[in-house]
């Protein structure tokens, strides 16, 4: 790993630590456990790849961590939907059908694209990322359709993750078109985009939610 990507990787690491600290300080760890696990997994993956590169900066480790990240991203979308709709049986019934349909389609499309390998990552990775984007989108559309009150934190998670995933798919598409010769540049842009995402989340994690007090009932948990 050359100097600039290494520097950005360390900045991402710092951003992730700030994000986790903000989540702990503001009591947001339990608001989406899948997201907490995802942040922890990314921090571990980043640390291993940058601190022990001879062992973990490899294709096989990249495949492993990417698989874990993909699973956790889908888990984030499903948990956010569950947390938003669990109290509303009517809305949750609809949300369940929509999410199950999306999961079934994405599972079938991913199964059709196996076996996955690092050399053909543009063939299977976009399908996994698109599935995550649409799980988040379905949740957002249902939230707005039913006017369910969701927290600023959940909103920030979705508003940050979806655009980053779009950048990631676009970069994979570019990699497929231009070939491995541009891998370094593509990786650098991806790292910068991810750094932006982590900083956005860290800012959201540390921010106080003011609407809570404005709309809360007397004697609530304020």
């Amino acid at each position: 790993m050359s100097d600039l990507p290494l520097l950005i990787a360390h900045l991402v690491k710092l951003g992730l630590v700030a994000l986790l600290a903000g989540m702990v300080f503001r009591g947001r760890l339990g608001l989406c456990w899948a997201f907490t696990l995802y942040v922890a997994a990314v921090l571990v993956g980043n640390s291993l790849a940058t601190l022990v590169p001879q062992r973990f900066f490899t294709h096989s480790f990249w495949m492993l961590k990417q698989g874990v990240y993909d699973l956790l991203k889908m888990a984030i979308a499903i948990e956010l939907a569950w947390r938003a709709f669990a109290a509303f049986p009517g809305a949750w019934r609809t949300a369940r059908v929509v999410l199950l349909a999306l999961l079934a389609v994405s599972t079938l499309s991913l199964a059709g694209l196996t076996p996955a390998s690092y050399n053909t990552l543009w063939q299977w990775q976009p399908a996994a990322v698109t599935a995550s984007v649409w799980l988040l989108t379905a949740t957002a559309l249902l939230v707005v359709f039913y006017q369910v009150p969701i927290g600023e934190w959940q909103r920030a998670i979705m508003l940050g993750l979806a655009p980053y995933l779009l950048v990631f798919v676009t970069l994979l598409s570019l990699l497929r078109r231009l070939g491995w010769t541009v891998l370094e540049q593509i990786s650098l842009i991806d790292q910068l985009a991810y750094l932006g995402l982590v900083l956005f989340w860290a800012f959201a994690a540390w921010r106080k939610d003011e609407t809570r007090f404005a709309a809360g009932p007397a004697g609530s948990h304020a």
Binding site: R26, G27, R28, L31, R83, A86, A87, F88, P89, G90, A91, R93, P126, A127, V129, T130, V133, W134, L136, T137, A140, L141, V143, V144, Y146, Q147, V148, P149, I150, G151, E152, W153, R155, M158, L159, A162, P163, L165, L166, V169, T170, S173, K208, D209, T211, R212, A214, A215, G216, P217, S220, H221, A222
Partner: protein
């Protein structure tokens, strides 16, 4: 390429919807569900409805007394006050009807309401509309659809009454001696009270449905919302 297009569409839809999402507004819409137990919310609404009706009736009576005492300018001023009371009450009812429409989509089942009937109404448009809604009611199967039909009927009813009230006041301003606009206003007020009775019944049915299926979910929901920024 397909994934890129799908991701772009999904991301744009998400950013557009969540970007426009107004949490404060959503919370305000939910306040009547989240903040008070059903009985208290129903009692508050009942008092509000009675107060609005009493205020409008009082203003109308005062206007009629002034008209009988040959003080047309005073009569018209007080009649406009009665209309203002109705307009404010109407805006409140329409806001609550919208909130009830949103919430009715989320419960598993709603306590059934009787079929709409023209009997409680005096105005011809409302009678016709209620008769038509009663007909449509027979074709709908689900209680939620029937409930929403009631909400549509009440929303249209409030608008019709307010429109009729404004026309009546305009008519009284043009021809102070003519008794017809006054009669139309009295008729409108009576219809508004009938609509308010339906409004209360619908609210009660929704609150009962919520109590039946909720199992403490509201409290959990509130804790999730309120516990967001500890």
């Amino acid at each position: 390429m397909l994934e890129l297009v799908l991701s772009s569409v999904g991301c744009a839809a998400l950013c557009y919807t969540l970007g426009r999402y107004n949490r404060t507004l959503a919370l305000q819409r939910w306040q009547f569900v989240l903040n008070a137990p059903e009985e208290r919310a129903l009692e508050t609404l009942r008092r509000r409805v009675e107060l609005d009706s009493a205020l409008a009736r009082q203003a109308l009576d005062a206007a009629e007394r002034a008209r009988d005492a040959k003080r047309p300018s005073d009569a018209l001023t007080v009649l406009r006050v009665a209309l203002a009371v109705l307009e404010e009450a109407g805006a409140d009812r329409l806001t609550r009807l919208r909130a009830m429409a949103v919430y009715s989509r989320m419960v598993r089942a709603i306590r059934p309401l009787p079929a709409p009937s023209p009997a409680p109404f005096r105005g011809a448009p409302l009678k016709a509309m209620a008769a038509f809604a009663g007909l449509v009611h027979g074709f709908l199967v689900g209680t939620q659809e029937r409930f929403r039909l009631w909400l549509v009927l009440m929303g249209l009813g409030v608008r019709i009454v307010l429109h009729g009230g404004r026309r009546a006041v305009d008519g009284a301003l043009r021809e102070p001696a003519n008794a017809r606009p006054w009669a139309a206003f009295v008729e409108g007020l009576s219809d508004f009270e009938a609509l308010d009775a339906s409004h209360l019944a619908a609210f009660e049915a929704l609150a009962a449905s919520l109590a039946a299926v909720d199992r403490g979910g509201r409290q959990e929901l509130w804790e999730r919302i309120a516990g967001d920024s500890r």
